[in-house]
Each structure stands twice: as C-alpha cells, then as structure tokens.
Symmetry: C2
DNA sequence: GTCTATAGCCCGATAGAC
DNA sequence: GTCTATCGGGCTATAGAC
C-alpha cells in the first residue's frame, strides 16, 4: 500500500482506539514507520487527514443508506444485511461518531451531514418495519414505528459505548456486535411472527459469521 | 460561596459544556474571576479537581440508588421520582459519564465504581418493573425484564448525546429531558394498564414541572 | 518521497512577592 | 488567600538537506 493510504488507515485505527484528540502525530508517524515530517508531505495538517477519512465515511454511508427492502420475499435477509452494514460502519468510523467534540467548532462537510445521516437512518429503519408489517412478519400498530426506529438506532449506535462504560469487553471479536444486535432485537421480538423470528435469527447468524 | 467551592462548581459546569480535556485551567480561572496560580493553592492539580467532583458524584449516586419502591400504592410516583433523580444526575455530572477517555489510564475511585453504578442502576430498574407487574400496572413476561431494564438505562443515558449528534437542541430547558423520558416510555407503554399509563404520565409531568 | 532539526504555541504547574 | 511571572513539556507544523 502507498504511504499516503497507509497513513489514512493507520490514523483511522488509532483514532478509533484512542480518540482523535489523544493521538499525537508523533505516535501516528511511529505506528506508520515513517518520520513525523513525512506526514505533512502527504497531508497538509491533522485536520486534512480527518477530512480525508470523513470523505470515505460519507461514501460508505450513502452506500449503506441505499440498502432498502427491494424484495418482499427476502426482506428479513435484507434487514440483516443492512444491520450488518450499519454495525460495520459504526465500528469502522467509530471515532467520527464519537469524537466530534475534539474537532473544534469549525463547520465542515462532516458536521453538516451528520444530522441528516441520523435522520435518513431512522427513515431507513421505518421503511423496513413498514415492509415487515406489510409482509405479515411484524404485528405492530403503525403509530409505534417512529419510536421503534428511534430506539433501534439509539441502541445500535450506543451499545458499544455502553459496554465500554460498563467495564465490559467492547473489543472487536468479543461478540460486542452480536450483543448490540441482540439487544436491539428485544425491542420488537415479541411482535414478530414465530417464523419471522426464526428467519431473522438465522439471517443475522449467517451475516455475523461471514464477518 | 468560598473560592474553593466556586472553583468546583464552575469547573463542573465548564467540563459539562465543553469536555474535561478541552477546558484549560486558564479559562477556568478566568471564569471564576481569579488568577490561574490561585487554582493550585486550592487544588494540587487538575486531576485533584476532577477527583473532588467525582467524590460528590459518588455521594449523589448512592442517594439516587437508594430510591426504591417502598410503597406499593405509590410505586408509579416513586418511579417518576427515581427517573427524575437519575436524569438530574446524568445532566449534573454529564462530563463524568462522557469524558472518561480524557482522564488517562490511571485507575481511581471513579473508574473503579462506574461499572458497578451501571449494574446497580439496571437492578434498580428491574426492581421497579417487578413491582409494577406485581401491582398489576404492567403486563409483561418476567423474562423480558432484564432486556427492558437495559434498554431503559441505555436510552435515558444516551438520549442527550443522541439529540446533540443529531443536530437537535440538547440544551437545558429545551425539553431534552422530557424527550428522553418520553422516548424511554415507548419501551413499555403498550404493556402498561390504562390507569397506570395515566398515573405515570401525571407523576412524570409534576416531577418535570417541579424541576 | 523521506529524513532531521527545530520553530512556535499552548498548557499545566511552580516560585515567590504581597 | 491571591497575585504575577515564568518554567518545562508536549504538540502541530515548517524548513531544508538528502
């Protein structure tokens, strides 16, 4: 991999692990195996590095938001795929969701888009829940869908932080993603038909195993 | 108020508003209207200041955890009072819940106690939900209580952050607390009896108005 | 494209006068 | 108990050799 790309990947991983504001450019350079001055050849300053990562993030988000229930026969599988894409995104760009306070107050693409991303994600969940009701998988008053969508996004977004703050293992590979997905399922599991529950469970299992 | 106490209160407010790591001791001194050097007469260093606030926090937490359903006749009112105390605590010590990554890796009282606080808070919610079932306010399979307690704590804890990240108003007096409480109610409102729903609603309203 | 050296800034904390 | 003055350290970023 080119040095420029290696810097980007390493930076994203370090920021995720230890916060944007806590990672010094000296540490980043050391982790990349290059001199610190070399960073500034590839990226004008630390913020330019942030904005490069944010650019990738925004592309990935649009791709994930496009995951909608296109085939009524497979809506539960498509839901599992969407969930998995969302959790991958939340983990891959965790520091962007988490460390906004570190960036300072200047407006930029990321800060302008994030509110819309949350709004669009909740709409995405509502679309899936509507589809599940229409397909007789979910027995729920339509009036409850907005609250359910909000609760789902909130739990999937913050469950990792909740585990970390609770002193439980929130590392990759520790089953933290599975725990978040299962926790969000408790929100509407009672309203799922028996067959839907099993289909969804299996679809989630296979999505998680492929990971 | 004594200078020492004024520093503590001002620090807590500034940390809540702008993160522990982003508030410089120069800013804190200016906000208190004293010289920066005077800070170090009252507190040995910035961490000692943090630990003084954490000490107050731990006292308040124990007091809030002691709020349990003692009177079956008034369990819904007592639940409203507990919710209100929890939300007050989350807002008053917001930065302690939020900025743990800023404190560095050294263990101290706070980092040791926080996991237990989350665990005890979930137990507290379970106790209330059991009491509501016993009192015929809540119709729910007991097996669902742990998940409901976890979901409740998660939503009450993170709803403020969710509003902020979503670009919505999360300031004091903007109804953010009411929004969090209402969002958490959507988790089990369908399982409440009609009279319980009304009693709880009124109890929450009066608790919020007293604030 | 990568290195070394270092400038310049901000921060937490100290020393010592009043 | 409060102030002024300043130090030492860590950080981002620049300059310039190779």
């Amino acid at each position: 991999m080119k040095t420029k790309d290696r810097i980007l990947e390493t930076a994203r991983e370090l920021f995720n692990a230890r916060r944007f504001g806590n990672v010094t450019t000296a540490e980043l350079a050391a982790e990349c195996g290059i001199a610190e001055g070399n960073l500034w050849y590839h990226y004008k300053n630390k913020r330019a590095l942030l904005e490069a990562i944010a650019g990738q993030f925004l592309l990935d988000v649009e791709e994930r938001l496009a995951l909608l229930p296109s085939d009524p026969e497979r809506i539960l599988h498509q839901y599992a795929d969407m969930l998995f894409a969302l959790m991958s995104e939340i983990r891959r760009y965790r520091f962007l969701y988490r460390d906004q306070a570190d960036y300072g107050e200047h407006t930029d693409n990321l800060l302008k888009r994030l509110p819309g991303i949350y709004r669009d994600t909740q709409s995405q969940f509502q679309t899936f829940f509507h589809g599940m009701i229409k397909g007789n998988h979910l027995a729920l008053d339509q009036a409850h869908i907005p609250a359910l969508a909000t609760n789902s996004v909130l739990i999937l977004r913050y469950h990792l932080e909740f585990l970390r703050e609770s002193g439980q293992d929130s590392d990759i590979g520790s089953g933290a993603v599975r725990a978040a997905v299962e926790q969000h399922l408790t929100l509407f599991q009672q309203s799922l038909s028996a067959s839907a529950r099993e289909t969804l469970h299996n679809a989630l299992e296979s999505a998680l195993e492929t990971a």
